[in-house]
């Protein structure tokens, strides 16, 4: 994606008030308390252990931290995580 097209898209998002996940393939996270987390628009699992789940995004990596993490369900672009979630971190996402 060229610099120009990104700029146009950014302008469209701002001007037309469109949701960013549709236009930029950004992840959409839906969290219910600290128990359940639904992540859409991911690109696959990088690492999975009871304490940490790393998901590949279009840009960078999303790390979910917690305890007793369980992948409740996984589909090509969606994942539902359950457990005691304590933190969500982004790595390598450009501003």
């Amino acid at each position: 994606m060229s610099r120009l097209s990104r700029k146009i898209r950014k302008w469209a998002v701002d001007a037309l008030d469109l949701p960013g996940d549709l236009v930029f393939d950004l992840p959409r996270l839906t969290m219910i308390g600290s128990k359940q987390l639904l992540i859409e628009n991911h690109r696959g699992v990088v690492h999975f252990s009871p304490e940490e789940l790393q998901l590949e995004l279009k840009q960078g990596i999303l790390t979910v931290e917690g305890a007793e993490l369980v992948i409740k369900a996984i589909m090509p672009e969606e994942v539902i995580i359950e457990g005691r979630i304590s933190g969500i971190k982004y790595q390598g996402v450009e501003e």
Partner: protein, 393 residues
């Protein structure tokens, strides 16, 4: 895991995968569209996950590609349950057989009861019922409808006005209502009607036979009133002939009448009895009166309807006394006539009619009234006399 009920029906397997590239396996599975759920990471590079049974066999190429190994931890859902049940098929067959036998036995006719038959024998009713398909060990569902059965049975059984068939459980009740039929006349040999008394005829009603007398005729005892002849043959003469008959009564009525009455004094005695032997227990001593009547009552030991030959007997001694009633002459006379009238009715039938009565002679002697009374009574005088055939020489 969309619906728990559906996934239970489809059956699922909990597997444990082991290998270096577990994350890649998960990604591959997700890409292939194989549904997995409850993915849990275990120590030593192991992961536990659930897969549908139908997806189980498509796991193998993916495992090979990612270099993982797999072992089955738990199987759950309908397909596995059925497989487990199938291993105990004899037990299940027995259970089903038991239910089938229970059902079969309860849909058999076990008992047939016939009610309300008096002249028609139970065997006849059962025989007719058997021909209509009602018999023990018949299937209930093979019976016809009750209204049809009852109509057929009524048709088959002569002498019934209605037959009802009802079923309660495994018992069939056949309710018979018998038709009332006119009494069959007994066969009688030809006979005449003859007079039973000397009489004057007052009323004639001849039904059959040849009338031999007229009204106001004077007939003698034994005279033929209606001959049992009709045309050339003999018949049973039938009819009613009334006539006036004279009855003479000698009546004696005591003027003084003695009657026993209770005074109200009584004494009770109690006995224990064994068979024919009784031992007095209570009520010793003289009763204190001379004339009495004894009323005794047995009260044997009994259980339900069985009576033992052992028990208690109670005796009541009731004092009696004799009183004398003196009748007036008129009363005594009326008493005597009443008694005679009752005698006439008893002897000659209640439809007899006393036309007149006449006291021929009357006297009082020794405390008694003697009377001779003549009654004129209109009564039935016809009497049957069988005709004796002349057999010839």
């Amino acid at each position: 895991m969309k619906s728990s009920v559906l996934s239970r029906l489809r059956g699922s397997v909990t597997i444990v995968v082991r290998g270096e590239h577990l994350e890649r396996l998960i990604n591959e599975l997700a890409k292939e569209g194989i549904e997995i759920w409850n993915v849990r990471s275990l120590p030593e590079r192991k992961m536990e996950m659930n897969v549908h049974l139908s997806d189980y066999f498509s796991l193998r190429p993916l495992l090979k590609r990612t270099g993982c190994r797999m072992s089955v931890k738990r199987r759950s859902g309908m397909p596995f349950m059925l497989a487990r049940l199938w291993r105990r098929k004899i037990f299940i067959a027995g259970f089903l057989l038991f239910i089938a036998i229970m059902f079969a036995l309860s849909s058999l006719v076990w008992d047939i009861e016939v009610q309300g038959n008096d002249k028609i024998s139970t065997e006849d009713v059962l025989h007719a019922a058997r021909e209509e398909g009602i018999y023990p060990f018949q299937w209930i569902f093979r019976l016809q409808k009750q209204d049809k059965l009852s109509a057929e049975l009524t048709r088959r059984l002569a002498g019934t006005s209605w037959v009802g068939v009802s079923r309660s459980g495994t018992r069939i009740t056949i309710q018979v209502v018998e038709a009332t039929r006119p009494k069959e006349q007994e066969l009688r040999s030809p006979s005449h009607l003859v007079s039973s008394f000397d009489a004057v005829i007052t009323h004639i009603y001849a039904e059959r036979g040849q009338l031999e007398v007229k009204k106001h005729d004077r007939v003698r005892k034994g005279q033929v009133l209606i001959a049992g002849i009709q045309g050339n043959g003999y018949v049973v003469a039938k009819g009613e002939i009334k006539g006036i008959v004279w009855h003479e009564y000698d009546i004696e009525v005591p003027v003084v009448r003695k009657q026993k009455v209770y005074t109200g004094e009584k004494k009770e005695r109690g006995y224990l009895f064994f068979g024919k032997t009784a031992i007095q227990i209570t009520g010793y001593g003289s009763p204190g009166f001379a004339e009495f009547q004894i009323l005794s009552e047995l009260d044997p030991l009994s259980w339900r309807s069985w009576k033992l030959p052992v028990g208690w007997m109670s005796e009541k001694l009731l004092e009696t006394t004799e009183i004398q009633l003196k009748l007036s002459a008129r009363q005594a006379k009326q008493d005597g006539i009443d008694r005679a009238v009752r005698d006439i009715y008893a002897k000659h039938g209640i439809e007899s009619k006393i036309v007149s009565q006449k006291i021929l002679h009357e006297k009082t002697d020794n405390g008694k009234v003697y009377m001779k009374v003549l009654f004129e009574v209109e009564q039935n005088i016809a009497e049957e006399l069988p005709i004796v055939y002349d057999q010839g020489e």
